[in-house]
């Protein structure tokens, strides 16, 4: 974990500048400005309805699939604004993968779940797909558990395995950023611990942004923590600082359970 004594060495991967976001007339996010560093885990915490999940979805524009939305301000990945012209949304979603609260594998075999993304991007060669599938399953710490039953349906897996399969599915297309929206809230402590270990491994090569309601999870896995309230950023700092000496009274009240 990063400590206040170690200077940040990783570059900024995602940069958010004065971003506001509305679903129709309803403003969800306002005046958000923050930087997210590459190969770090950034946790987003805050009460329900504060805009955490919406914030995640902004990074791969997945909200646009269903709803008319309005986004203003700048959201940059590697310095390039993802809301300006010239951005291919499909390629953006390949670069910025997402894992949701409830494991949502496709009603297909384990193999086909992982191969789905690469196939979408035109990989059809069996040997190449085999390599991609094994690699993604290994990165998701699932290979040893499923290598003998790749053709079986994903729905027969446990909840924790299904969630790791969803992570493998996201990893199979080689993302640079992984967005995780409460990825452990439906899992037992053992499965949760496996996902958390996995997050620590994946951050070696990925930028990870995780939304969680579990304060201890944020404290365990993240390098930075951002506290959102009513669509605004109250405070963002090193996780160690947020959980020992937050600057804002509101942050302290939230993490100590005295909010409201």
């Amino acid at each position: 974990m990063l400590s206040p004594k170690t200077p940040e060495t990783k570059p900024v991967k995602l940069s958010v500048k004065d971003v506001a976001f509305s679903y129709g007339e309803k403003k969800i996010l306002d005046a958000l400005t923050l930087d997210i560093h590459a190969e770090r885990v950034t946790a987003i915490i805050g009460p329900s309805g504060c805009g955490k999940s919406t914030f995640l979805k902004c990074f791969n524009r997945i909200h646009e699939v269903t709803t008319a939305v309005k986004v203003s301000g700048d959201m940059l990945i590697d310095g390039v604004d993802i809301y300006k012209g010239g951005i291919d949304e499909i390629d953006l979603r390949r670069r910025v993968g997402m894992v949701f609260q409830k494991p949502n594998p496709f009603p297909k075999s384990i193999y086909e779940n992982v191969a789905f993304g690469p196939r979408l991007f035109g990989v059809n060669d069996k040997v190449t797909l085999d390599v991609l599938v094994e690699d993604a399953l290994r990165k998701a710490a699932l290979w040893d558990e499923v290598k003998d039953r790749l053709k079986e349906s994903a729905s027969g897996m446990s909840g924790g395995q299904q969630q790791r399969l969803c992570i493998a599915r996201a990893l199979a297309v080689g993302p640079e950023v992984l967005l995780m929206d409460e990825p452990c809230s439906a899992l037992d402590p053992i499965a949760t611990s496996k996902i958390e270990e996995l997050i620590m491994e994946l951050k070696e090569s990925l930028t990870i942004v995780i939304v969680t309601h579990n304060m201890q999870q944020a404290a365990r896995v993240s390098d930075y923590t951002a506290f959102f309230w009513l669509g605004r950023l109250v405070e963002m700092d090193l996780t160690e600082r947020i959980f020992t000496t937050p600057r804002e009274r509101m942050t302290e009240d939230y993490i100590t359970g005295r909010f409201g």
């Binding site: 004594k5 959980f243 020992t244 993490i255 100590t256």
Partner: protein, 221 residues
């Protein structure tokens, strides 16, 4: 009040109770020493048992809070520092016993009562202020305690040299003087303990360690 807040209050109240006993022990120790009172010395030793009981109880309260409540921010600093403040208070009790047990061995006096009492009184003031700083969350008072440690250290040095001089000039006072050297050493340690408590109070209030500040100015890494 939430259950968690009442548990934190139980911890604070427990520390205040321990501090109250520590102050009573210090008062009795000063009196036992100047009045050569075996009764007061025995009372000090009796009170030490209560300190030991409190230490066990509050250690458990802290461990339970960490295990069951996962405290954060100010709460975490209070619990972490309490785990250090409680043993400091308990050690103050032990040092008082060490002094009180010698109350009857240091007479007839070889030092003026004022000189000997000065160390006890200065130390008592530091402990009281450290406890007040904890109770009233007063960082300024905590800093006053830390700087007062030098006063007690200087008194220790002065009295120690005087005792050495007395031992060299009159071998008949060697036994009493050696007891007195241990007495002043114990007062000096109690002052250190008050300083440590004040440093923990600053950590609770400000979130930065107030210890070994010379290292923070020149970090190792």
């Amino acid at each position: 009040m939430r259950v968690f807040d009442s548990e934190l209050k139980e911890l604070r109240d427990g520390i205040m109770a321990m501090a109250g006993i520590a102050e009573e022990m210090i008062d009795l120790t000063i009196q036992a020493l100047s009045e050569r009172s075996r009764t007061k010395a025995e009372r000090v030793v009796q009170l030490d048992r209560q300190m030991d009981e409190w230490e066990l109880k509050l250690d458990q309260v802290c461990v339970d809070l960490l295990a069951l409540r996962s405290p954060a921010a100010t709460d975490l600093r209070l619990v972490a520092s309490s785990l250090k403040i409680v043993p400091e208070l308990e050690r103050i009790g032990d040092h008082c016993c060490n002094i009180a047990r010698r109350a009857t061995y240091v007479h007839p006096p070889i030092l003026s009562g004022d000189v000997l009492n000065s160390m006890g009184n200065e130390t008592r003031k530091m402990v009281r202020q450290a406890v007040d700083a904890f109770v009233s969350s007063d960082a300024g008072l905590a800093r006053t305690v830390i700087s007062a440690d030098d006063v007690v250290d200087d008194l220790y040095g002065t009295i120690y040299r005087e005792l050495l001089r007395l031992m060299m000039s009159d071998p008949l006072c060697i036994e009493r003087a050696s007891h007195l050297i241990l007495v002043i050493k114990n007062w000096e340690r109690i002052a250190d303990q008050a300083t440590n408590i004040a440093e923990e109070v600053l950590f609770i209030l400000e979130g930065r360690s107030a210890k070994h500040t010379y290292l923070q100015d020149n970090p190792v890494d």
